[in-house]
Symmetry: C2
Subunit: 273 residues, 2 copies
């Protein structure tokens, strides 16, 4: 992997990395196409990272479809698919590995609060992928919006000199954000799940300059619960650092995590200014 990338760099080519956990859908392929806009060469990685899953989460059952993934990436003219095994990413074993802790304030909230240690696992694997592939650019989906900010801060803080680009979430015809975890949903749950993007979108449309943020968050949570979803959080935050605004203003984003049956779903979107 490193030899190939060294050859590209020596030829003056820009390299983009698209880190994934596999089971690729249209959202991932959009990341690859975005990466092609910013670089001469695109590397997609597929690695289901154990250190970002908590106790009782779905690490074991997370869908693994390498053959279909490779075919899909080939069709997009992705240059290299990097599929390391756990021993390549954690050569001394997870327990004795060097671990990273994500930037405290940013990682403590929302997803980090609900999934303790999750972002530490994310930066522990992404730092390795960055060190191995030394890309000029990396593309992450806005679907995991907080992860995008955490990874951008990782790149800037450690000085990798990597431009971390966020790509808009890809949705199905009814607006449901594409996710590998949607496959866990039965038909009834799928109907419930469709409330998530709908409520977030309507909250954005209803908000007016100067409105109290908390009221909109509670109203949205109420609607999601009435629809039969369990709500981990609905939060309206400043888009650049997820800090808490008091009144409705420009540059905000609404983020939510719900449980739909046994399946945990997240979504987020910019709010109209």
């Amino acid at each position: 992997m490193q030899d190939v990338i060294t050859t590209w760099h020596q030829a003056g080519e820009r390299v983009a990395l698209v880190p994934t956990m596999g089971n690729l859908h249209e959202g991932h392929l959009a990341l690859v196409r975005e990466a092609q806009q910013h670089a001469d060469r695109v590397v997609a990685s597929i690695f289901v990272n154990p250190t970002q899953f908590g106790e009782g989460e779905d690490f074991e059952k997370y869908p693994r479809t390498p053959d279909e993934d490779i075919a899909g990436l080939e069709a997009e003219s992705c240059d290299v698919v990097f599929i390391p095994d756990t021993e390549q990413i954690y050569p001394f074993g997870v327990e004795q590995s060097v671990s990273l802790k994500a930037s405290p304030d940013l990682a403590a909230r929302l997803e980090g609060y609900n999934r303790p240690g999750h972002f530490d696992g994310v930066v522990s694997v992404v730092a390795r992928l960055f060190a191995i592939t030394r890309p000029d650019v990396a593309v992450f989906g806005e679907k995991d919006y907080q992860q995008l900010l955490v990874v951008r801060k990782l790149a800037d803080d450690l000085g990798f000199g990597i431009d971390v680009i966020g790509k808009e979430t890809i949705r199905d015809a009814a607006g449901l954000a594409l996710s590998s975890r949607n496959a866990y949903l039965d038909p009834l749950e799928l109907t419930l799940a469709r409330q998530l993007n709908k409520v977030l979108s309507e909250t954005g449309q209803n908000a007016r300059q100067g409105d109290v943020i908390k009221a909109h968050e509670m109203d949205a949570a109420e609607q999601l619960m009435s629809a039969g979803l369990k709500v981990d959080y609905v939060a309206i935050r400043r888009a650049d650092d997820l800090s808490v605004p008091e009144k409705f203003e420009g540059g905000l984003r609404i983020l939510a995590a719900v449980r739909c049956g046994e399946t945990r779903l997240i979504d987020n979107m910019p709010m109209p200014d």
Copy 2:
């Protein structure tokens, strides 16, 4: 810094990094000369890293002599001296920075036990220096032998693809390991400090295949204490991973840390097989 190194890499040149905390002595310059054997270009960095000093340690008074350091490196034909300030290494501030934890077992013993968090600070800064300078080779002194192993494991574990080379300790005529902290010693303390390398060396000469390790460690500690030094540890360990041998065997190293007045000194050396 990164633009310069990119230019070198595109020209197919190998780059070596020599990380230092400045106040350079002959030991540091020997690292630069070693680096020149392994690479076309040598970068020396000077940064007194706050995160590897504990409470009450000598971060504030650590000697800073940038002008002399630059002159010394120039005389050795070092290609670049990289002197970042704290805001470049920790752009979001130390408190909100991404931190690294060194490999647990290796970092918990000896220096790590006596200086809690020290090696976490070391890997937190070295990972940044590696990410910024992307060297092919990095050279560290064997004087900080455990640090050398911790950093080598960092490079291998994160997949930087950097060859971490250890360079033999440089000593004065009487065998005292060169160290910036020797400058803290008054003439009487200097006389005491000279017992450290003497006792370690004699312990190696007296040991015989099959001897009980513990007896030699205790004997050496006893001698150091009798000489008027306070002993943090004397340890005979396997050189490759600092694991504990039961009987004297090949491939061992003797390591010690003592306090001489207010000054903490460390030394280590291979034991004769």
